[in-house]
Symmetry: C2
Subunit: 332 residues, 2 copies
């Protein structure tokens, strides 16, 4: 339908080969005069290159497919920005595919959409791939890398935060602030959930190092959602000992915050809160939430960089404590 190089060839009298050469700027293969004529014709006719054809013949593509969970969490945006930045620097394009919310069918659909055309690689943003879909990806002969999710077996490449360190840092910070009864809420520690288990391990390590015996019901598992936060706070409300809680995501933290208010508990006077993620949500609630902040932007940037340069090793991006208003220093 659109105008093709054939049209330009006809218009200018040059062959399609020559037209192709100037349009794809194969320097040294055409004169400036020719270039001028061809380019003029191209803009005159409103030519737009059909990359699909180019990709077919060159057998390579400059598009990176990013698969994202349409999850309730909200940190994909800075990751994607980081990816876009790196992609722009490397002259790659990026397309984004939504993989639903832990739904095998829509996960497969997203993956197929990406894999059914030539692509430079795929980046998976905190998507927990079903086994069948992982196989699909592996057989595709396309480089891929996970972002914001890490794995036990290092067969799968990733760029993520060190979840053990996150759990450790959060706990140590709270201890430093004088807390000794510390909850951990809203994380998933089922067998396949590496993230939650690592955070738990870091939490336990910090506790152990400070000779604090872990009480069983300090841990309130959940799926990182707002509702999980609500529920966790409900469960903590009859444990008077607890003076601080680490929450698995900003939304969990906000859930605790709001449920606490309902219970007439004041944050941080009656209960301190430190949340994991540190997205903008921390700053739009009252009180603002202190957080272990992940460097999502850099995670995306680095993930794209590793994918593009075909590096094989994994990487952890930095995390840091962002002190805001939800943790109270206890003086004994």
């Amino acid at each position: 339908m659109g105008v093709t190089i054939k049209d330009i060839a006809k218009e200018t009298g040059f062959s399609v080969a020559t037209v192709s050469r100037v349009l794809s700027n194969k320097v040294g293969f055409f004169s400036q005069d020719t270039a001028a004529v061809v380019n003029a014709a191209a803009t005159k006719l409103g030519y737009k290159k059909n990359m699909a054809a180019t990709e077919l013949v060159t057998q390579k593509s400059s598009v990176i497919a990013v698969i994202v969970n349409s999850t309730k969490t909200n940190f994909s945006d800075p990751i994607i920005e980081g990816i876009q930045q790196k992609a722009a620097e490397s002259d790659k394009r990026v397309i984004i595919l939504y993989a639903g919310d832990h739904d095998a069918t829509s996960q497969r659909r997203a993956l197929s959409t990406a894999l059914e055309r030539p692509i430079a690689g795929v980046l998976l943003l905190s998507v927990d791939l079903f086994e069948e879909n992982l196989q699909l990806l592996k057989t595709a002969q396309v480089p891929f890398r996970f972002i914001s999710i890490s794995f036990k077996d290092s067969a799968l490449n990733y760029v993520a935060s060190d979840d053990q360190q996150i759990g450790y840092l959060a706990t140590k910070y709270l201890i430093k602030m004088g807390h000794r009864c510390i909850g951990l809420a809203g994380i998933d520690i089922e067998s396949s959930a590496h993230t939650g288990k690592m955070r738990l391990a870091g939490y336990k390590r910090a506790l152990a190092e400070n000779n604090i015996p872990l009480q069983k019901n300090w841990i309130q598992t959940g799926n990182y959602s707002y509702e999980a936060g609500l529920l966790a706070m409900q469960n903590y409300s009859n444990q008077k000992c607890i003076s601080a809680v680490i929450t698995g995501s900003d939304l969990v933290g906000i859930g605790l915050l709001n449920q606490a208010a309902k219970l007439h508990l004041s944050i941080p006077d009656d209960l301190s809160l430190i949340t994991i993620d540190g997205t903008y949500l921390c700053r739009i609630v009252q009180p603002q939430l202190t957080s272990v902040t992940q460097d999502f932007y850099h995670m995306g940037y680095l993930g794209a960089e590793y994918l593009i340069s075909d590096q094989q090793q994994n990487a952890f991006t930095d995390v840091k404590i962002s002190e805001r208003e939800s943790v109270k220093k206890l003086t004994l």
Copy 2:
């Protein structure tokens, strides 16, 4: 690199034509026996169709490109879900392109990425296209439609909320609740900003119908951001008359809410708030924000439907008042 129909032809002894026919399920053009053999070989070899090639020859595509602003607003998710739903029903695929935040360059990059390959159409989610990029889109010979943004001139097709009605409904609701000094905050009413001007028009109409003379500083313009909300509240704080404010987005509403707290003003006791959008953010702040709620999911669904079926008319999706906790009934 991957396995092609040629490989399957070789493997099975059939011609590529026959292989193609069974693989793309041209019923009636092959026997069940043949199909069985070919399909077996396909799965055995791990065949994956190269849609780029298919699109090249058939001159059509089943992918819809969705261009989104990587804006601070957060209503794209339900819109995209609606699009995905309709796309799945119609056997279309969807790819998403980020167009930056009102940045001409990254807008063009997103558009080019979409337009440089065969696509079924493009959907633009509240992206305010620069003139040059609009021209690019128009010359592409591809159907397109805007979502969540409407236009004065109906040359451009859209599915959106009726912004005039939004402004009108919000104002009327507040009046019904006994308010007569009503602010309007965080909207953009510059010359090119149709959305803001329509909301303002609705607001003015409701005021006029109730014989309320509009005071000039009731209107605090802004760019729909959290910061705009903060600033607007600051500006309202010396206008004791104002008893209620309509905010241009949920983030603006939250900005007002938090700035009010800083000023020791209690919502809704000292000031009522109704916000426009009604995303999940309204439910995770305290008090929960009453809103004029837009039907983003349906907006996406309908936008995709109109695009696919090539309808030319515009459409408004429903809006409704969701009563929560931020508006107080004034009894005179």
